[in-house]
């Protein structure tokens, strides 16, 4: 880059933009950003948000009963998660963090497969090799969940960059938290996407917390969106509890990618209404009254109000939906609980395409050796 007397305008840090909101308190939609969803689309979104919340509650209960080992949920963040996934095209890919099972289900992950993963049983497509919620579903363009924070960000960039080299228009939506903006991969991913103009939607779920650490400890910038300026890409802030707004900004980001304009960073402002996971007790670091203002902005409630005002939803429909989810959940759990654990051999498979000699030896050693006391087989 030449030495320039004046900083070019594109490199001037953006003013923290205002938060894009579509669904107002009186349940009307701001026409400036209204994604103009039809009635059945809005109902579909609402059903997936309810499904996600219902499953979350039931999975926490299963964990408390000791029937599954762990759950990391999306309580309060359903609009950001479901809305963003909804706005992507079928051919696009999702690179999840770990709270996005609702998006996977909406994209086609069968409930039974998801529940099998929660139990890590023989039918789990990842064969009990990972903790619960670390699912994968290639058929719906859902990459594999891993625990290390941020690593999916560069991968999402590489994925769509690969497609671009291949001459195909395939965008990626990558989900990550506010905490992940401090990671190396956030910087690398944003930077590579900026330099190579890759069609990636960076969706930062700013839910206020990284386990017990508040956002002020992640950054000294006023917003997460303004970090985009450092990479030469636009950053927008959106009300993450407003599904219309989320759909709208993500669609706009996809459109930019389609037009060859590259990536967009979206900061979805939301709130983690539960603990970090079932392993966490948030009462140790945050007062319950902090939840109040966010409870009033609950994304499901807001959408339900919108639907009820238009007589598109009522208690009876709600009850029927919940009863249906409950029944399907129970059935899936019953099957998953009856399914045995994966066979011992599966521990040694998929490390490489074919097990080399040392894994064959170790597998034989386990098979002829004693069983661990907790083993189910």
């Amino acid at each position: 880059m030449d030495m320039m007397p004046d900083i070019p305008a594109t490199f001037r840090p953006e003013q923290p933009s205002k938060v894009i909101r579509v669904l107002s308190d009186d349940a009307t939609l701001d026409p400036r950003h209204d994604p103009r969803l039809n009635e059945s689309e809005v109902l579909e979104l609402y059903r997936w948000m309810v499904t996600t919340r219902q499953l979350d509650e039931r999975l926490v209960a299963l964990q408390r009963q000791g029937r599954i080992g762990f759950h990391v949920g999306s309580l309060g963040e359903e609009a950001a998660i479901i809305g963003a996934a909804f706005a992507m095209r079928k051919k696009d890919w999702l690179f999840p963090c770990y709270r996005e099972f609702g998006a996977a289900l909406m994209r086609g992950l069968p409930l039974q497969v998801f529940i099998d993963n929660m139990f890590g049983n023989a039918n789990d497509t990842v064969l009990g090799r990972q903790m619960p919620n670390h699912s994968t579903h290639r058929a719906s363009g859902y990459a594999s969940v891993s625990s290390p924070v941020g690593t999916q960000i560069t991968q999402a960039v590489g994925f769509s960059w690969g497609a671009k080299i291949d001459g195909k228009d395939v965008a990626s939506l990558v989900y990550f938290g506010d905490g992940a903006t401090s990671s190396t991969d956030f910087h690398s991913g944003m930077n590579f996407a900026g330099v190579f103009k890759v069609p990636v939607v960076f969706l930062c779920r700013n839910n206020g917390w990284a386990i017990s650490v508040p956002v002020e400890r992640q950054t000294a910038t006023r917003t997460f969106a303004e970090k985009a300026a450092a990479y030469g890409i636009p950053g927008v802030r959106v009300d993450g509890n407003d599904i219309f707004a989320v759909v709208s900004v993500v669609r706009e980001a996809v459109r930019r990618g389609e037009q060859g304009l590259g990536a967009t960073l979206i900061e979805a402002i939301t709130y983690r209404m539960g603990g970090h996971s079932t392993s966490d007790d948030p009462n140790r670091y945050r007062a319950t009254d902090e939840l109040k203002p966010w409870a009033e902005r609950d994304p499901l409630e807001r959408l339900r109000q919108y639907l009820e005002r238009r007589a598109q939803w009522d208690d009876r429909k709600e009850q029927a939906l919940i009863a249906d989810i409950d029944q399907r959940f129970r059935a899936a759990v019953a099957v998953a609980e009856k399914t045995p654990p994966p066979s011992l051999e599966t521990m040694f498979e998929d490390v490489y395409e074919k097990p080399p000699w040392h894994l064959q030896e170790q597998c034989a050693e386990v098979l002829r050796g004693p069983r661990a006391p907790s083993s189910h087989s």
Binding site: S144, G158, F159, G162, S188, E349, Y352, H358
Partner: protein, 324 residues
């Protein structure tokens, strides 16, 4: 057959792979116009364009993270890390992502890529241009690790690594990049992974070596022969999964083992090789196995020739082992 050095042989392999398969892309720092700081990718950018031979931002984490994503898409990325010493920012992506993708997705996503990087000392590079970090990758389930010693193997092993379904770390011994010369067929051929090569037969002691240290082992073996000790020198070529059958056959025959590597001794690959041999050949061993290695210090600048396990240190170890 044309004579080539290792740089040229690797360049040939890359060129051929890129010609045959449009999905092959080369990513790295300075790999484009300048053709790599060691010139290994020279001319590729001109032939295949900037989209497929990409000068990336200076971020090993970014290069490998993006390459993993490209591989998920279905490209075949070949990453160059300028020096192995600078691979650590990418270690998380290699260990936690690349190596585990197939396993953790139940086989849905094999993340296949090749990471090439120059290794080793003897070039006055100090500790940031000399390390030989194979042990840190051999230890990671899911990775394959290759280290050729000569141009013929370099081309054949690289082509095999590109075809292999698993992620491969391809360590190039930079000390012999240009010094090691030999005949290299113009056509493609494969040197199968997991195949060691007996490069000097002998009956008194087995010497395991790889990369640049192979030449030191051969030099020591030649000098030992003058003293009546016949060393069998094996070039491991693929470090992991190692060709255990060739090693065991040799040690059962000689009853003695010397392992040579540049990397520090403690928890080095030599420790694993000795364990594997002891587990399999204990009753054939006639002397304690010996490791001739770098020391457990950072790689030094001025005293690098004292640090490295060169012929002058291998020879006495070999003679002692053969006589004890």
């Amino acid at each position: 057959m044309p004579q080539m050095n290792m740089v040229q042989a690797i360049n040939e392999a890359l060129r051929s792979a890129m010609r045959k398969d449009k999905r092959v892309v080369v990513l790295g720092e300075d790999v484009g116009k300048v053709g790599g700081v060691f010139r290994v990718t020279a001319g590729l950018s001109e032939e295949f364009g900037e989209d497929r031979v990409v000068d990336t931002p200076l971020s090993e984490n970014g290069i490998v993270g993006c390459a993993v994503g490209m591989a998920l898409y279905g490209m075949v990325p070949i990453v160059e890390i300028q020096f192995a010493d600078f691979i650590w920012p990418a270690y998380d992506q290699i260990v936690n992502e690349l190596a585990k993708y197939r396993y953790r997705s139940g086989g849905e996503y094999p993340a296949k890529l090749v990471i090439r990087t120059p290794v080793g000392g003897g070039i006055k590079g100090g500790h940031y241009h000399s390390q030989h970090p194979e042990a840190a990758f051999i230890h990671v389930a899911g990775l394959k690790v290759v280290c050729p010693s000569n141009p013929y193997d370099a081309k054949g092993l690289l082509l095999a690594s590109i075809q292999d379904p698993d992620p491969v770390l391809f360590f190039e011994p930079k000390r012999v990049y240009r010094a090691a010369k030999g005949e290299v067929p113009e056509n493609d051929y494969l040197v199968p992974l997991e195949s060691a090569k007996v490069v000097r037969p002998g009956r008194h002691v087995t010497v395991l070596a790889y990369g640049a240290m192979l030449y030191e082992a051969l030099d020591a073996a030649a000098k030992a022969a003058e003293k009546g000790v016949e060393a069998e020198v094996i070039d491991l070529r693929t470090l992991w999964p190692v060709d255990i059958a060739t090693i065991v056959t040799s040690v059962k025959h000689t009853g003695r083992l010397v392992v040579v590597h540049e990397a520090p001794r403690t928890c080095g690959f030599g420790a694993e090789l000795v364990s594997l041999v002891v587990e399999r050949c204990f009753y054939h061993l006639e002397a304690p196995p010996v490791r001739v290695t770098g020391f457990d210090t950072p790689f030094p600048y001025t005293l690098e020739m004292e640090y490295m396990p060169l012929s002058h240190r291998i020879l006495p170890a070999l003679l002692d082992c053969a006589k004890s």
